[in-house]
């Protein structure tokens, strides 16, 4: 009998809640298609990257580097990591990802490929880890990250994600991949220690902080 009265009470609560939610309903503006947002982000990032590279100056040996298949492979890998992660972010900010859950996989596979590539280079190339934690490339890595991270956050923030951890992590991959490619296009150094310390580590720190902060910012 007690259970029955409890169930009746719960049903009443549910009816009250439904009446309240229906009473508060207002017409809503539909969230834009993720592809549209992704293309906007891509446009913003392309213009910004062009602007930053123009300010910092393209590396002096770019013509030689563009002949190198290793360099081209690395740039292509980091750019495709960035683009696939950026696109994934804008689908991840919708509860069911519009049925496109496969989009999580390409950035993860490309990240692993980039890590394997860097790990392979550590076995073939001699390198030393720099003693200084800060270098002009560290500040440039931040410069490359500013607009891509802010713009992707603003575009995805009004969505309602059901992936609090994955979304900020993908944001970090999108920003990191783009920044890495940007730094490889502007910095002359081919020393692996320099690349690990100043081109890669800042984005790992950024990924860690973004994931911690993002899961609060995207909570709803």
């Amino acid at each position: 009998m007690k259970t029955m009265s409890k169930a009746t009470g719960n049903n009443k609560d549910m009816d009250d809640l439904i009446a309240k939610l229906a009473g508060q309903l207002e017409p809503v503006k539909r969230f834009p298609h993720p592809l549209k947002l992704a293309l906007i982000w891509l446009g913003i990032v392309a213009i910004y990257m062009g602007f930053v590279i123009a300010i910092l100056g393209v590396r002096a040996d770019i013509a030689t580097q563009l002949q190198s298949s290793e360099y081209l492979f690395e740039i292509a890998l980091s750019l495709s990591l960035s683009l696939s992660a950026g696109f994934a972010v804008l689908w991840l900010c919708i509860p069911d990802m519009r049925g496109q859950k496969w989009m999580i996989m390409p950035p993860i596979v490309l990240l692993l490929a980039l890590m394997v590539w860097i790990a392979l280079r550590t076995t073939f190339d001699t390198f030393h880890i720099p003693q200084n934690f800060w270098n002009h490339c560290s500040s440039e890595s931040l410069l490359f990250a500013v607009v891509p991270s802010i713009s992707i956050f603003l575009l995805s923030w009004k969505g309602k994600t059901t992936h609090h951890w994955l979304l900020p992590f993908m944001t970090a991959l999108a920003v990191g991949g783009m920044g890495y490619a940007g730094l490889r296009a502007t910095c002359l150094s081919e020393d692996l220690g320099h690349i690990l310390m100043y081109h890669t580590a800042p984005y790992f720190i950024f990924a860690f902080l973004a994931t911690l902060l993002g899961q609060r910012l995207y909570r709803w």
């Binding site: 609560d13 939610l21 309903l25 207002e26 969230f31 069911d96 309602k160």
Partner: protein, 187 residues
Amino acid sequence: MGPANNNQNKTQNERWTELAALAQEGDSRAFSTLLKDIVPFIRSVLSGTLSNQDWIDDITQDVLISVHKSLHTYSPDRPFRPWMTAIISFRRTDHLRKYYRNRQDKHTSLGDKEFLAGHVTNVDIAGELKDVEAALGKLPEKQRKVFTMLKIEGYSAKEIANEMGMSVSAVKVSAHRAMKKLKQDLG
């Protein structure tokens, strides 16, 4: 699943899709009908993995609020059910995460009749449970804490070892001794 059921599901999905599209335009009656319609579905999904009725009610209410909050992210050219199922799964995980994060704060006496009614299948053995509680009370504090965390609250020996600054084997020995004493006490 037979063709009749498939047809029924298709009709239900289409109906929800239409109601959600109307709700996005501000039709509160359609929204109210939609929410009433989806409550049994939400409950049935949750019942598949949760046995606590209070949790099911709480999460169902959370899902309704979430549907209201995120209605703008729904696209009527997609079926409504996968969108809602993603929200149900998210809210269930969120609820369980909060519960397990705070579980060390949740203590109750075995004399709490309301708790027993909700969590113990056979309330008639509540008297015996009180004997267990009394026997636990006689154990040295450290042993009682180890035993409670390991056997009642479900922590692993490693977690307890970290929490109490003991080795894993010391935790196991302590729990074993506690169990032996309880057996002696309870006959």
